[in-house]
């Protein structure tokens, strides 16, 4: 990892955190309709992976997708406006939090269907492979989704077709309100990979560098035509499953509960000489400002025109 990468990572981590904290507050004020699932605590995964992706690489995301979208380069103003259901939102206010997307940035959408992304990512990788492009597709999914049938179908399909896809599991310990240890018969998600004849790596998902290194290797394999990789990132979600969740299932002993990837990375980056304390402070302040501007932008944006209800059904 070099200085440039580290600074970018630290910026995106902070943008994500401020963004989510702001969404949390705005939701509390009643300005956001519907369901919101926050990414705070898992920033190391999105940024560690996305630091290695280019604009033309694809990702599929989840209902907890704001972090992926920011790290993939989606317009933050447009995201905030989308989440508030405004005209200037990325989807014109028609998708909302669970459907934030920007296909031009290779972001194939947050997804309201748990386990909905496995096949989509495999399909994006099929496009890349068929067209002979030098890109990859990344499927982000939670530990909850790892128990859907689509997990098995998607991994098996990607493996037999040697598709350039990376399956990144964000194991934040809970599928909705149920601990992973109850819902999964296998102790880890990563250990299922050999059944599909692909490498399965479990990394510390609170450590950006660990995520980054595992992803780097997976991308090399994918681009070399050696097929998919499964990376399980052991992480933690700071907020509940959705805003309003009492989180009664959380305990003092939950793994990673006392950790926060952002100060951890700040410390490591300064220690490794990738970033100075001053640079870090500046990034934090700028990120905060970026998000404040995004909120102002979104609040000022009008509601969508009513006739847009009927548009965008068919191409």
């Amino acid at each position: 990892m070099n200085k440039e990468t580290a600074l970018w990572i630290y910026q995106k981590m902070n943008e994500i955190r401020y963004f989510e904290d702001e969404v949390h507050r705005t939701f509390g004020k009643g300005l956001i309709p519907g369901f919101v699932h926050l990414y705070a605590g898992e920033e190391a995964v999105a940024t560690g992976v996305m630091a290695l992706l280019e604009n033309d690489d694809y990702i599929t995301s989840t209902h907890r997708g704001h972090g992926h979208a920011i790290a993939k380069g989606c317009d933050i103003n447009g995201m905030m406006a989308e989440i508030m259901g405004k005209k200037d939102g990325l989807g014109g206010g028609k998708g909302g939090s669970m459907h934030v997307a920007d296909v031009d940035k290779g972001m194939l959408g947050a997804n309201g269907i748990v386990g909905g992304g496995f096949g989509l990512a495999a399909g994006a990788a099929l496009s890349i492979k068929t067209k002979g492009l030098d890109n990859v597709a990344v499927c982000f999914f939670g530990d909850g989704a790892s128990n859907e049938g689509t997990f098995h179908e998607g991994l098996n399909l990607a493996s037999i077709l040697d598709l350039p896809v990376i399956f990144v599991c964000e194991n934040n310990q809970f599928g909705e309100g149920t601990p992973f240890r109850y819902a999964s018969a296998s102790e880890t998600v990563a250990e299922r990979a050999p059944a599909y004849n692909m490498p399965g790596i479990r990394v510390d998902g609170m450590d950006v560098e660990a995520v980054y290194n595992a992803t780097k290797e997976a991308i090399e394999r994918a681009k070399a035509g050696q097929g998919p990789t499964l990376i399980e990132c052991d992480t933690y979600r700071q907020y509940g499953h959705f805003e309003g969740d009492e989180q009664k299932y959380k305990t003092e002993d939950d793994p990673n509960r006392d950790r926060d990837p952002i100060p951890e990375f700040r410390e490591k980056a300064i220690k490794n000489g990738w970033m100075t304390g001053k640079e870090a402070d500046k990034i934090e302040q700028e990120a905060k400002k970026t998000i404040e501007e995004a909120v102002a932008f979104a609040e000022a944006s009008p509601l969508p025109d009513e006739e847009t209800l009927y548009t965008d059904i068919f191409a």
Partner: protein, 351 residues
């Protein structure tokens, strides 16, 4: 019987609890129907559990505490898996209530319903019964966007071998839920999330409401409005507005979407000659179009105007609040189509 003023959610919770007390073969299965499995601090000293969720809306709260994790079963997020299991269990002696958290998730749960549960009895020459209740949630209005707000009961209702119930108030919710659980067939019990907080008088005792029978909630002579679930409130609002013009409206709460009560609807239309059906489904191939088709066929000579349907538009459910409100059928939309039907009954234009 003691009546209490309780919510729609509480009424359904109570129905499930009463059914589980009455019949030990009744189980509740689904993702987070309790929540917090294997979380130590949720276990009491006497071995009973608290739930972390009690369903994502908290509707089944308390059931795991009373009936234990053997009968209130949290599943992984694996709709196809646990719905298949529910069908298999139903075919072999249990009487499961399987929860599909949002009806939109049916994509992953459809095969067990469409190809297994709905067809086994028929394919096996009557040598199986599937006493399975599928509890699910539909409806727009909560800002839950395109994949958590759809209204799909009509799609379920199009499958032979599936009964579909859509309650409109707490009283009906309890009685229909108990009837659904008693049924020896696969019943989809579809709840509108916007009704969850609705309060109403509900008897404490165990009672059932006949599946397949509509409820005439208001009788009238000149116009019939058939409505489903939440739309019954819209129908009543419209009836009140029309009453100011001395137009007498009959409101029928369909209660059961499949098989819907042709006798009651036809009888009403034969009396009034005019029909509007309100259905929040997308506008094609839904319950409203089916009712319109049967009425056009069976009551043609009694019709004194075209049959009108008021449905959601042919679009996914939008997220933005103003678009979502424009999406949902309301009284103004119904009055607009009613205008053509009742213009000859009144002197002044209505809108």
């Amino acid at each position: 019987m003691t009546n209490r003023n309780i919510t729609f959610m509480t009424a359904i919770n109570e129905a499930m609890a009463q059914a589980m007390r009455k019949d030990e073969n009744v189980i509740l299965i689904g993702t987070d129907v309790a929540g917090g499995a294997e979380v130590d601090h949720l276990v009491h000293d006497d071995g009973r559990y608290d739930d972390a969720f009690g369903g994502v809306f908290g509707l089944s709260k308390g059931l795991v505490t009373e009936f234990g994790r053997e009968r209130v079963i949290d599943t992984p997020i694996a709709e196809h898996g646990y719905f298949s299991a529910a069908v298999g269990a139903a075919a072999t002696g249990l009487r499961p209530i399987a929860e599909l958290m949002f009806n939109d998730f049916v994509g992953f749960a459809l095969d067990p319903i469409l190809n297994q549960g709905a067809k086994m009895r028929y394919m096996f020459g009557g040598k199986a019964k599937i006493p399975l209740t599928v509890r699910t949630v539909h409806g727009a209005g909560a800002g839950a966007a395109a994949q958590h707000s759809q209204t799909l009961y009509g799609m379920f209702g199009a499958i032979p071998g599936v009964k579909v119930v859509v309650p409109s108030n707490p009283y009906d919710a309890k009685g229909l839920m108990l009837a659904a659980i008693e049924e020896d067939n696969l019943v989809v019990f579809s709840e509108d999330k916007m009704l969850y907080g609705m309060k109403g008088d509900v008897p404490e005792d165990y009672y059932t409401i006949e599946i397949g029978k509509a409820n005439v909630v208001r009788s009238g002579e000149e116009l019939t409005i058939v409505a489903i679930g939440k739309m019954v409130q819209v129908a009543e609002e419209v009836a009140n507005i029309l009453a100011k013009d001395d137009i007498s409206t009959e409101v029928i709460d369909l209660r059961t979407v499949a098989p819907w009560d042709q006798e009651t609807v036809l009888e009403s239309v034969k009396k009034t000659g005019r029909l509007i059906v309100i259905d929040e489904s997308n506008p094609h191939n839904n319950t409203a179009t089916d009712i319109a088709s049967v009425v056009a066929d069976q009551a043609f000579d009694y019709l004194d105007g075209p049959i009108k349907t008021v449905c959601a538009p042919n679009t996914p459910v939008p997220f933005a609040t103003n678009l979502e409100q424009a999406y949902i059928p309301n009284a103004a939309k119904v009055l607009k189509v009613a205008e053509e039907l009742i213009v000859d009954l009144k002197k002044e234009p209505m809108i």
